[in-house]
């Protein structure tokens, strides 16, 4: 079985049957209660038992007190999209208790703080009330652990859940040790708290949870990480040497990870000096200005931001486009517009980023779907930026960037990096200085550049955001302007041949095509299997990995009279771009959209498809 992005998904199990390794577990706590460690331990212990798992943190824009939910999905079948239906609820937050109990599916299991008294709210659920606060008082009374009560209580629910669901004690122990790397004392009291919950559950609840785990072997060799760390690792191995950024959720951890990796891997062992420059800028305008300045001076430079940052960067992005400076912008999208829902996810910047800045502009945009693609596409973005001499966007999102994903370990990059068309002093000498910064020598629209500092009297040129001719000299002549922007358009057509191509997966008897990109992939592939199994609706699949799309994409669309376009935004932003760029197919697109700030779930896609594509009648919805 492959859990890779493009891999064939195994058959789904039916939703109605309760069986092992197929559930969604939600932990409801208050922000700042320190539950993150406990939740990660739960997830990692299940992962260590060989069961495919994903973890999604639904958190508020707040440091302490507001409600937060952590959802762990275990799926023996390998589905790791968010599951809309909650099967197991661990209820610790009194503020959301009633609503949380109301929202779980019939037959769900609820592990709850006893004093909340929620058992009377529904009679179709199995409740496991635990006196968490009493237990924690008992073990910490009069001890130095008293001030850690808030944290200890979290590990008690891990113990209860593990015992009720069959999560192996040894793997929880190992997960705790991994999570708390070397902090002996912390490991000790967390293990103690875990066993307290375990023992209580053992003594108190003879009937175990129907939602259980059973050891399997589907995660061997795999790693767990978030997409931001993956992208940072990509930038590290791409040879990025300048990183300038301004803190913004959900992208901050990308640059922070890059800083951490550079402290270990970019300090010259001989001189002790850094082979990298990292600046926390005063705002996103300065961050992108530094990226473009550094790219102009030859360095591989990048920034990471989110939608509001892109809004501020727009003027500079136009400068980068028009002056043709290599630069990489990683946009970890969040829910807009304006401040929006800053801690929730969205594919909301697609249209904005693709044509960002005033005037006629178009930018290559890459759509990673997984941490591994964050890693790979970060590297591709630097190559493309230098090959094409232009800003290149990597469009991640909060779900991918900040949540925990399983992944295969990353491959080590092969070969040298691509620097594109750069003239050395020797080249300039050979040309006897007869070169023009914006001259299209090969007909691909990509000109030659020199890097500032190149020691030749004829190597220098003047870079300007104002109108310029082929030599970079100021010009307002209509013919110079048109020649230049037409060449830029030609260059964009070249980009079409260089960006990563779509991933196609056709099925016999397909009645339509479905198109997704980025994190919409996961809910889409699961929905596709469910549509097939439960409703007999077969769909061909295309996962778009970049814009502008190569010719093979047109061929795929040509073959489908109806194309469902799955996106996490209100307006069908990619569909809008496609209708504009492929007007001959405009009537074929049917948008399937989710835009509530939560990661896409398969049920949304199933319903969206069935609304427009009635099933042959295998099953009532």
């Amino acid at each position: 079985m492959s859990l890779g992005v493009s891999g064939e998904m195994p058959a789904a199990i039916t939703q109605s049957a309760v069986s092992a390794n197929d559930f969604s577990l939600q932990v409801a706590t208050a922000n700042g209660s320190g539950s993150q460690t406990a939740n990660n331990v739960l997830m990692r212990a299940i992962f260590r038992m060989g069961i495919p798992v994903s973890g999604k943190n639904l958190f508020p824009s707040n440091i302490q007190g507001l409600p937060t939910w952590f959802t762990i999905r275990a799926s023996g079948a390998g589905y790791i999209a968010r599951k809309r239906e909650i099967d197991v609820l661990i209820l610790m937050n009194p503020d959301t208790a009633a609503a949380d109990v109301r929202d779980v599916r019939p037959g769900a299991v609820v592990i709850c703080e006893k004093k909340l008294g929620v058992e009377k709210l529904r009679d179709d659920l199995t409740f496991y009330p635990v006196p968490f606060s009493e237990l924690v008082m008992k073990v910490t009374a009069g001890s130095e652990l008293a001030k850690l009560r808030k944290l200890i209580v979290n590990m008690i629910y891990v113990g209860v859940a593990a015992e009720l669901m069959g999560i192996e004690t040894a793997e929880v122990g190992e997960a705790i040790r991994r999570q708390l790397k070397g902090k002996t004392k912390a490991i000790e009291f967390n293990l103690g708290a875990f066993h307290l919950g375990l023992d209580y559950s053992q003594k108190t609840f003879p009937e175990k949870s129907p939602y259980r785990v059973e050891r399997m072997n589907a995660t061997a060799g795999k790693i767990i990480l978030d997409g931001n760390n993956a992208a940072a690792i990509g930038c590290l191995f791409a040879g990025a040497t300048v990183c300038t950024w301004y803190p913004i959720t959900p992208s901050s951890s990308l640059c922070e990870s890059f800083i951490d990796h550079c402290e270990t891997h970019r300090k010259d062992p001989e001189t002790g000096k850094m082979n990298v420059a990292i600046v926390q800028a005063e705002d996103e305008i300065a961050a992108i200005g530094m990226v473009i300045g550094a790219g102009w001076a030859g360095a591989r430079s990048f920034t990471a931001t989110s939608g509001p940052g892109i809004s501020l960067m727009s003027e500079f992005i136009g400068l980068g486009y028009y002056t043709e400076v290599p630069s990489v912008i990683i946009d970890v999208q969040r829910t807009g517009p304006s401040t929006g829902l800053p801690t929730r996810t969205m594919q909301g910047d697609v249209l904005f980023v693709y044509t960002n800045s005033h005037g006629d502009t178009r930018h290559p945009v890459l759509f990673p779907s997984s941490p591994e693609e964050c890693y790979l596409m970060a590297q591709q973005a630097f190559d493309l930026a230098e090959q094409l001499q232009t800003p290149v966007f990597v469009l991640s999102d909060l779900d991918l960037g900040m949540n925990n994903w399983m992944s295969d370990p990353f491959p080590y990059p092969e070969g040298a990096i691509t620097r594109g068309k750069v003239l050395s002093a020797e080249d300039v000498e050979r040309l006897k200085g007869d070169w023009g910064r914006y001259r299209d020598v090969e007909g691909d629209g990509i000109p030659y550049r020199t890097v500032p500092g190149t020691p030749h009297p004829l190597a220098a040129y003047f870079t300007r955001g104002s109108g310029h001719n082929e030599s970079g000299v100021y010009s307002e002549k209509p013919e110079d302007y048109v020649r230049n922007v037409d060449r830029l358009k030609r260059k964009f057509e070249t980009a079409r041949t260089l960006v990563p191509g779509p991933v196609f997966e056709d099925r016999p008897r397909a009645v339509a095509g479905v198109l997704a990109y980025g994190t919409s992939h996961w809910g889409t592939v699961e929905a596709r299997d469910r549509l097939s199994k439960e409703f007999g609706v077969e769909l061909d699949y295309c996962r778009l990995t970049a814009l502008p799309a190569p010719p093979s994409f047109r061929d795929w669309m040509q073959r489908h009279d109806r194309i469902f376009v799955v996106e996490q935004n209100r307006d069908g932003q990619l569909a809008t771009i496609l209708k504009d760029e492929y007007p001959e197919f405009a009537t074929r697109f049917v948008s399937v959209l989710q835009y509530n700030g939560l990661p896409l779930d398969a049920t949304t896609v199933v319903n969206g498809v069935l609304d427009a594509q009635p099933a042959p009648g295998r099953k009532e919805r």
Partner: protein, 346 residues
């Protein structure tokens, strides 16, 4: 310089003629103060014997920002967006710290739209000569007041400026800039010495140069006109600069002097003219600037100088090598490093 064959053209220590430092023909108004500054920049880089290919010129938007095109044709230029020259320059200088950076801006570009980036550039001490060609008006948009226009100054049509001016030099000293100078495009001798010292300086060198706008702000009632500046200029001291590759202080008259030495051995010699002023005293600089504002004096000279202050690349602990020249094996960690990162994520 050593003696040369009499008929040979005059050259600097690199054997380059002054014409090797010139740029395109200016398209600014006849008599514009900016063109005078441009000429002084050409002379300073020529006299200092800076290799043109090592110079990077930056600017934003406005009349002043057009000028990098008018000097050092053999150098790299980047004319970016309005008010954001500091970030472009910061990125470029970090990418290649062997470049000599010079940025030319105006009072609108710096004190209004760009004041945020300006302040953070100063705070970071980015190695850059930052010249503000300060004329108190927006020239390219036809004569609106800028934020450095003095309270009570008038436009040509009689409109009175009713807001106080931003004092860029006070701001710079306050933010820790280690080279703060104010000069006047009409005082070529002083400007030349300051420019040469700025080239020797390894951090941000702020030069706030009053540079009259002959078209929109050279009338009676302007406090940035040629006449006003000439009538009110009050030099703090006479300045002589001796680069490290020369050893005479020929043009400095005898009298009370103070020398400030740069790490490379270059010396700035201050000859006091009536006022006891120590340009290495930050508190005094702030006090004198404050006082001169109250008295509406136009003080010129190097207001504050601290050549040893670490610049941004030093603070970041960066390598001396231009970043794009670092070999791949030094910026792409080995496979073992990737394996170790992967192992930590299991």
């Amino acid at each position: 310089m050593s003696a040369t064959v009499p008929s040979a053209p005059k050259t600097n220590r690199l054997g380059l003629a002054k014409s090797d430092y010139e740029g395109a023909k200016s398209t600014l108004c006849l008599g514009c103060g900016h063109d005078v500054i441009t000429k002084q920049i050409v002379t300073a880089f020529y006299e200092m014997g800076v290799e043109p290919h090592r110079v990077a010129k930056f600017s934003g938007i406005g009349c002043s920002s057009k000028t990098p095109n008018y000097f050092l044709n053999r150098s790299w230029g980047f004319n970016g967006v309005h008010g954001r020259m500091p970030s472009l320059a910061t990125g470029a200088i970090l990418a290649n710290r062997s470049l000599v950076g010079i940025g030319v801006s105006g009072d609108g570009d710096t004190a209004s739209i760009g004041i945020g980036q300006f302040m953070h550039l100063l705070r970071r001490n980015v190695p850059l000569i930052y010249i503000v060609e300060n004329n108190g008006v927006y020239g390219l948009t036809k004569g609106q007041f800028s934020a450095t226009a003095d309270l009570g100054a008038t436009l040509k049509d009689g409109t009175v400026n009713d807001l106080p001016a931003v004092d860029l030099c006070s701001l710079a000293v306050e933010l820790g800039c280690a080279f703060v100078a104010r000069s006047f495009s009409g005082d070529m001798k002083q400007l030349q010495a300051i420019l040469q010292a700025a080239i020797a300086h390894k951090g941000t060198a702020l030069l706030d140069v009053i540079s009259p706008c002959v078209t929109f702000n050279d009338h009676e009632g302007s406090t940035k006109s040629y006449k006003y500046a000439k009538d009110h200029e009050e030099p703090l001291h006479e300045i002589g600069f001796v680069p490290f590759f020369e050893d005479t202080l020929a043009e400095i008259p005898p009298g009370e002097v103070k020398d400030v030495t740069f790490p490379d051995g270059s010396v700035v010699r201050f000859h006091s003219v009536g006022r006891d002023y120590d340009p290495t005293n930050r508190e005094q600089a702030l006090a004198v600037l404050h006082e001169s504002r109250q008295k509406k004096e136009f003080l010129t000279g190097i207001l504050y100088l601290a050549p040893e202050q670490p610049s941004l690349p030093d603070v970041l602990g960066m390598t001396d090598e231009p970043l794009h020249q670092i070999p791949l094996e030094k910026v792409r960690p080995p496979k073992a490093a990737l394996d170790a990162i992967m192992e930590s994520l299991r």
